[in-house]
Symmetry: D2
Subunit: 346 residues, 4 copies
């Protein structure tokens, strides 16, 4: 069985594991105030060209999303998200558990447009019954999105302008940020993100770490009380340096980006192969997730050898599925898979 | 200014006020365990032909909705509602404030269909990632709906069957229940509601009381701990007998239903008049809320003399608005209004 | 049965009821933005000599406490209260339901001292593990307290200084505020309270209204979003003017204070009588609640004719109980009671 | 600097790291349903002689405590804890964040007694205002406690009886469970715990794992929906097998217990040395935490070479501090420390 069903089926890059072993008997302060977290913070601030940024480390994405949003919203405020956003669908109500509504709006290719957010806010603030409705106060986007699509610099600038207009916090879920930045279609970079967003995170779990997300607040005033929030949410890792060590190792010389680049290269190989075979895609994704629409009969055959996720029934005979590459994907497995698809779909 | 903008612009029916005055210096136990609450409970159980029902009184609808749902749901469960449902739109996130997601589904004329709920639950329970999504465990409907439409017996039975299939609680918001039961198109009655729903309430605030909603649980096991929940939610009225006294007076001889009938008669008069004038309706409502689509110019003129609610922009020149009648509406005001509309729209 | 068990056993003062009847068929805007609420706000601002104050009306005390605190605290912050404070004991966890810890500290005669709060905050902010503990950010006091005792001007000024030192919000629960201000030992007044507190409320439910608490924020910046919070908490009364009408009537010419004065006079009569009889008191209360310690045998006899609350077992033979007077207490009932106690306790 | 300030200053036992490396490129299912989690579950069920037990893995203790309690309590219920309990003091209000009050009762040496819990529940359920107070429905204990003390079999049986009497869930926080079971004074074992508790956890973070707590529910009915709760709380680790692998390795041949035994042996060495030196202890702890009371002058000197936690000021000249041993403590460091203390205190 070769797994393409997600991008977190393996442990961590060997260099990460080696570093964890190497530092294993160091005695470190707990809770993320140790030398490695500090070193990782310094590297991240440098990469973001944001010396004022506040950086905190959390274990996972759902935890990060709910903790960040509940730290930034007032109780009567909600967060705008695409209907397909991870917080709107796949986090078991973690945001609602903190008392906030996810204001789900229609997206385009998994992305929120500035126009949609603007129209929604415009409607809210003009409504005579606004006090009876949840006030939009944050915008949640993910880059890459849940459908692998990415935002352009222009799109984010437009969202930023809308956020400024309506006093919304702009929050970017970067669980797969590296794969986004490594896309051939990408025009973003970390310094831009650190300016355009109020808060975002650099995903580790899906990008070669055992676990960990590095949350970057544009400035420390936004992060006031955030460590208390982390602890309150059960998200302050006792051995916090484990997160610091991993980000330090992955980011110190660009390994994080190199791994992402190779994963995206393999995804583009997949995309190209599907295109050659005339397989339609549910979504044109320029990142590590690919969404071909395949005949059910073919899927039944492939399932015996490969794992993938079912996304959506297209019609009686066809289903959209998802194949992910990752930092751990082997080129030969991709070729084996393509060859097999050719036989089956051919 | 004559107000048709809602059905809670006046105080209470004079008989209700008289009864409050008459009992004013009785000394009663607080918190709804007094003789009047008990008497009202007995009347309601009788009207519902439900001797096992548990009845509790709350002050208002949002409070009732959030308290009931948070009492019935486990933390990881959510409530299915039409996208236009009051809890989904107009309660400032009161349900989310208790930690639960409102799972908003498309409605038909403001109503949830059994098919929609069934398909949604079927999808949820078949999904391999169900643990990552909010589990549907309750269905919220309002009768009449936010658009004045009402459920038929057959529709509720179908919803009940779906609820049984997926183990969902069926909860009916009856803030305007009387106006629904008084509709010429209604085929429901209280005994049926007390059987088909797990919990519903008989609205008082919009039906001639100063305030108050009578919550009816099909049986006491569903209401375990509900009084603690009421207190915890700040919803246990110190002078609870005030709610008992009002329901007692309104329900003891059918005044509640007589008032509703007259209000609906006046609404049907309005509906008929709009029809005669060729005014289209946003929604065909057989109850006390009417939703004509009128030219903006006409609305500007009418606004000087009458109040009403803006519902939806239809196009550049026309807007759907809402006119409510209520227990307090005077027939002559309706005629004055109709005459004026004829002049303006005619 | 003559009831002294609490101060909310009767409806409302006849003038309040008359005013509700008189205004019954006025058509008013809902949700507390009507002319009566505005009039009551103006009166309250005048009485408080606080033209900048924001005034909102809620139905009851538990609702007011939880809504105010959850509006003012950040998620990781808690509220300091005396261990005997209403929010710490008798609100079914309403504050915790909003996600906040009540930091209960030992009180003195039911009151918090500035020293206690200062020492607690000093400990918290000096603690190296402060991030792991709930940050104190508000102080809850009630005046009169749950034991009828009252704060002096000097005590409140000391608490204010501590609040300023540690950046805490000072919140005074005035469910029985009138009875406090009417005490022969009182040296507070409304203008002082409106300066020394960030927020307090003028209780109505226990002071002659059917229901209602008037929440006064020192300035509007503290109340940002408070109306959304009210709605979200199910605490925005549809017929909000009912609260406005009642406060307007009670406050326009001092009726509120006159009624309180008479209630306290009767309580002092009780206190004097107990003293004459040599009955010890659990607490020396200068307000409408009195806490005699009586032999159980005597209580058993009295219970047949009078109702009162059990507070605390003192020893095998004696129990501390509570007798309340109120705006509705009749002087002759107090005399009847005293005469009977004399016979029984002799 | 040699650290004795806590028991989570190092990474993981080398065998644990080796196993993580060894399994690194296996492709595993996410979210804790993989072969390693299953294997670890089987081992734990075996060690507990509890084939019906449900086992789930969480990353940390605060997360475990809040998730377990919020899964088991109804919204209006609270959890009884010693005033010194971790959930009552050092989790930033994580339990309150889920809407539940921690009902803190006085403990004896950091432990709750059956008598205290029984008296509290007896008072609650007899109170006429019980509906206005938070209902006790769970008992939280930690073994070892926050002061290193441990429960005896008889004490737990007595607590169990009280829980049965009042229908309370008994929950044991075993963050340091191994150190408790390894104590020379211990008379508990896992099969007993799996019978006497409704739920408990086997701590990993402080016992030689990188991170992880294994939650054991006596039977699966208690764990209904628990995985949804985990996800909702941000506590479902994407690479869940990392937790399974670690527990599998630590528990398969008793390494967990061997490490704990050695850590406790070293702690007893410390205790003995302090006793010889006549140093008084704040608490007599038979586990890996030791609480000597030392002169401040001595502490100032020791602080330059050793780290430890400040617990409590005893008087002007002396402070109680905490020294922890752990699976990673080296015997020579303990001897170095003792020698130095002798010089300083001697």
């Amino acid at each position: 069985m070769i797994r393409f069903n997600n991008d977190y089926s393996e442990g961590a890059h060997p260099r990460v594991l080696a570093k964890i072993s190497e530092t294993n008997f160091e005695q470190n302060d707990g809770y993320g105030v140790d030398r490695h977290c500090e070193a990782a913070r310094a590297i991240i601030r440098g990469l973001c060209e944001a010396p004022e940024a506040e950086v905190q480390f959390l274990v996972g994405g759902t935890q990060a999303n709910a903790t960040i949003l509940s730290a930034l919203l007032k109780p009567y405020q909600g967060v705008v998200s695409a209907e397909t956003g991870h917080i709107a669908v796949h986090e078991s109500g973690a945001v609602e558990a903190t008392g906030h509504k996810v204001l789900a709006l229609p997206g385009v290719n998994g992305k929120l447009t500035a126009e949609t957010v603007d129209a929604f806010c415009s409607g809210y603030f003009a409504d005579e019954t606004a006090e009876h409705m949840v006030m939009p106060a944050a915008v949640y986007i993910s880059n890459p999105s849940e459908f692998g699509t990415i935002y352009s610099r222009a799109e984010l600038e437009a969202l930023r302008a809308v956020c400024d207009r309506w006093k919304l916090v702009l929050f970017l879920d970067g669980a797969r940020l590296g794969y986004g930045l490594a896309s051939p279609e990408n025009d973003l970079d970390l310094p831009f993100l650190a300016r355009v967003c109020d808060v975002f995170y650099i995903g580790g779990t899906k990008q070669g770490l055992l676990m960990g997300e590095a949350v970057v607040f544009r400035d420390a005033s936004l992060a006031r009380g955030f460590r208390n929030m982390m602890k309150r949410a059960g998200g302050m890792l006792a051995k916090g340096w484990l997160l610091g060590v991993q980000f330090e190792e992955m980011l110190r010389d660009g390994l994080y980006f190199d791994l992402a680049k190779e994963a995206v290269r393999l995804a583009m190989r997949l995309r190209g192969a599907f295109a050659e075979m005339g397989v339609p895609m549910l979504m044109e994704s320029p990142t590590n997730q690919q969404f071909p629409i395949l005949p059910n009969a073919a899927l039944d055959i492939l399932r015996a050898e490969f794992s993938f996720s079912t996304i959506q029934k297209i019609d009686e005979g066809r289903t959209a599925v998802r194949f992910c590459t990752s930092w751990a994907t082997r080129a030969e497995d991709v070729e084996t898979f393509i060859a097999r698809v050719r036989e089956v779909v051919g």
